[in-house]
Amino acid sequence: MMRAGWQRWVCYLSLALSVLLLLLPLPDALRPLRPWWPALVLLYWVLEAPDRVGLGTAFVTGLAADVLAGALLGDQALRLLVVVFLAQRFRARLRFFPIPQQSAAVLLLLLNDSLLRWLIRAFAGMSPPPPLAWMAPLVGAALWPFVFLLLDASRARLRAREP
């Protein structure tokens, strides 16, 4: 019972941090390369705690990110839904991939998301993202092992502290 409570807090805290990371200032040149943190964190939780994190969590996280960033309400919510849904679909396989292979899968998911973002922006009549933004999925995939290990370690530590 307590363990579930702890885990829930780690989960929500990590999601909140991932949304805040989106706001962290970066140098101008690196800005388009900013990895999409909420997607990475959500992916971890979908793989590890599928009964806690699902489409609803993705939607709420996306809405929070949208309200904070103020670009288009529902944009990130929709894209996170797609990412999480695909991850749920292939969870049985993704979960047992070795980490490099998981990174490749994350790359595919994020590339698919870049395409979706491009479409959404085109439909909403906003300026298309700069060409460099297509490289952001690579950064995200490269960071996946670290996100995975960090979240795994923090979860394991909390679990060990529990009696």
Partner: protein, 321 residues
């Protein structure tokens, strides 16, 4: 049962109910985007959740602030001394300039009073600090730490020591969002300080650049020209430096000129910005003419109208040259 849930039936459970839920959520997200796009829901939602959003913005900006504070504390004494000396020089220079400017202002005031100009061009401003966070990487906006409670309102121009930065587009109780001149949706009426050619400067969205897309091919614009705000449209006061022309290219048809310009304001480096507050609009009948200066019948009809408008830009041009 437990085994089969882990196996293929679990797959179908995700596939069946999951797809339905996905469809529902996707519809919801799509509807939100549509409504936001049409009715601009997001600013209203943000204003409503300002109590929640503002602390988060501050929180996200805090690491940059700490870094800056730490850097300042750790700056070595030598660099401080050097900086001190430089600042002393700059202060001396600035004081000399101020003295000169004061003389000019006094002279200007006298001339204006002579010309029966009812109000002197007085600018009120409010200092604000930039909260260092990135909102949307494809738009050029900044967040400042002054909001509705400090009297900020939408449309207020924002400048720094070097030129026009942008204008306020969104106001929360204690913060405000400023649209920079380089944002793709920003447009600003400008004036070539050398030739007087008028144009609209649009933000290019990529990099630190402005574009003047539709100038005639024979327009008198050269690389290195300074662009001032023209004051047309009434948003920005006239005569503030905006940008310097960096490149001229004819467009594909050969009948228009694409002008690229670099903003003079330090859009990325500014820490403090100045919010300009325009004078209150006079309400009611105009005040009676003052008795100072030559009688109205002696001054030309054009003189009274054109001189107050042209004076600031001419003074700027003179100071810059």
């Amino acid at each position: 049962m437990a085994l089969s849930r882990d196996g293929s039936p679990g797959w179908s459970a995700v596939g069946g109910g999951g797809t339905l839920r996905l469809a529902a959520y996707l519809l919801l997200a799509g509807a939100l985007m549509m409504l936001d796009h049409r009715n601009a829901w997001l600013p209203r939602l943000r204003a409503a959740s300002a109590l929640l959003v503002q602390p988060l913005w501050r929180l996200a900006g805090a690491p940059a602030q700490w870094y800056e504070d730490a850097r300042q504390h750790l700056a070595s004494q030598a660099s401080l001394r050097a900086e001190n000396g430089k600042l002393r020089d700059a202060l001396l220079l600035a004081n000399v300039r101020i003295a000169r400017m004061q003389a000019l202002v006094r002279q200007n005031d006298q001339l204006k009073r002579l010309l029966d100009a009812a109000e002197t061009l007085r600018m009120q401003g409010q200092l604000a600090r930039v909260i260092d966070i990135d909102l949307d990487p494809y738009r050029r906006r900044i967040v400042i730490d002054r909001g509705a409670r400090q009297g900020v309102h939408i449309g207020q121009p924002v400048v720094d020591a070097h030129g026009v930065m942008g204008q306020v587009i969104e106001v929360l109780p204690d913060t405000a969002v400023v649209l920079l001149v380089t944002d793709p949706s920003a447009a600003l009426p400008v004036l070539d300080a050398r030739s007087g050619v008028r144009a609209l400067a649009y933000g290019s969205g990529h990099g630190d650049q402005l574009e003047l897309p539709n100038l005639a091919i024979n327009a008198d614009v050269r690389v290195g020209d300074e662009l001032l705000s023209s004051g047309l449209g009434g948003r920005f006061p006239a005569g503030f430096p905006v940008a310097r022309v960096t490149a001229l290219t004819p467009d594909r048809s050969g009948s228009y000129l694409r002008v690229a310009a670099r903003p003079l304001a330090h859009l990325n480096r500014s820490d403090h910005v100045l919010l300009l507050r325009d004078l209150a609009e006079p309400v009611g009948p105009p005040p009676p003419a003052s008795r100072v200066g030559p009688p109205a019948m002696l001054q030309g009809p054009a003189g009274a109208a054109s001189v107050p408008v042209a004076a600031p830009s001419r003074a700027r041009g003179g100071a810059g040259a």
